[in-house]
Symmetry: C2
Subunit: 227 residues, 2 copies
DNA sequence: CATTCAAAACTGCAATAGCAGATGCCCGGC
DNA sequence: GCCGGGCATCTGCTATTGCAGTTTTGAATG
């Protein structure tokens, strides 16, 4: 731990959620934006001091990150940010694709009319952002679409897993500084996914979602996604 | 917390691993074997007292279980064993199928000759147990095969996720008290998976593994796996 | 200058204590 | 007999403290 990265400035305490959650988000942010570099040591005490908390919430956050593969811990030695080459990033993208597919499958099985309406709204937001060429809000709208879709499945394992995998996506895109991801094609794919869900066709929903996620991945990692 | 279930007898302390890991395994065992019934309250203090530890390791174990969906926590109220109907169990089985498929894909890409040899050994063990009709060791050998396959991918997210999902499989099989799962067919499917991995065919490996896991699931949940 | 070994500094890890919020119980009123 | 409010209890949650194992450092020795 050299000088305190910006991800480790003190934490606002006026929160009702467990501190470990805030610490977790801070650490994820630092790992994603690179201020906590791969291989860098993550000392419970140092982080706690920098964030103005005690060691325990930090410890819980590190455990969670360890379970998600973003942090590696040697039993009595310490934790460090996991080293990730493009192969690992592409791997995580593949896993994300299959989990997104599973989420779409579940959504097609269980979506209520309200759920479908919400997805329509998100899709409209994406369409607007695409027409205006507003890539920042397009990205947010895209994430909102996926998040809403995950919520339909109402499966805690899927929701948490996909949230964790999103970090890898951010890392990958930041590292290869991609890339518009062909917004119009992505829009069309989202529409097709939604249509499959509305048609209560789990098999098609999964297939479309998986292909969409994988194609989006292949924009960032053309090398590792051949075949 | 009424009377202490057998899963909550005191913990042996002569361990070098973090206590939270031991607590986690105990709680998983209790949830799987039903001694910690669905909906039952899980008080940090009570569990800690019963296990002879402090509250902190228990808390970490509960957080992990929460991330895996086995436990539900209301922010300042408390944790309880998640309620799981057959639909949820079948859902988790579907997710397990796609993750097992992803693991097989990775294995086909990265397996070393030593890895293939280890898988061969596990498969032989399964073959022996099948011929002798020894269902107990067959089950262990089956798990050993899958565990070895997961390890090949060397992906912490997959390894941890699949380990967590195994609990759901145990719960499901215990609840429907299935079922020999047609050992010979399972054996043939494992052999086909191994062949695909050895042939470096990720697509086939994933497809075979997914079909295998799903078919195995459909034995326990014929209702929820139609279509 | 390189090596080694011991001590100091640091680390994960667990236990204890205390606080604030949530739960449940009991008692008084309708 | 049923309902509601206040108090006791219990809960999650965080901080503080202390211990044991690890890593690093630095000096003495070859």
């Amino acid at each position: 731990m050299t000088l305190a990265p910006s991800a480790l400035r003190p934490l606002a305490t006026d929160d009702i959620r467990p501190l470990a959650d805030s610490v977790y988000e801070r650490l994820v942010g630092g790992i994603v934006d690179g201020s906590l570099p791969p291989g860098g040591k993550l000392s419970e005490r140092s982080i706690a001091a920098a964030l103005g908390t005690s060691a325990q919430p930090v410890r819980e956050a590190l455990r969670r990150l360890e379970g998600e593969g973003l942090v590696e811990t040697r039993p009595r030695s310490g934790s460090s940010v996991a080293l990730m080459d493009t192969r690992r990033l592409a791997e995580m993208g593949r896993i994300r694709a299959v989990l997104e597919g599973a989420a779409a499958d579940l959504a097609a099985r269980h979506a209520t009319p309200e759920d479908l309406q919400r997805l329509e709204q998100r899709l409209d937001a994406m369409r607007d952002a695409t027409e205006y060429g507003d890539t920042a809000t397009l990205r947010l709208a895209n994430e909102a679409f996926h998040t809403a879709l995950h919520a339909i499945g109402d499966n805690p394992f899927l929701i948490r897993g996909l949230q964790a995998l999103r970090a890898y996506d951010h890392i990958g895109r930041a590292r290869v500084l991609a890339s518009d991801d062909q917004p119009r094609q992505a829009l069309a794919e989202h529409a097709a996914i939604l249509a499959a869900i509305a048609a209560r066709d789990p098999e098609a929903a999964e297939r479309q979602m998986r292909a969409h996620t994988f194609r989006s991945l292949s924009v960032a990692f053309p090398e590792e996604t051949r075949g």
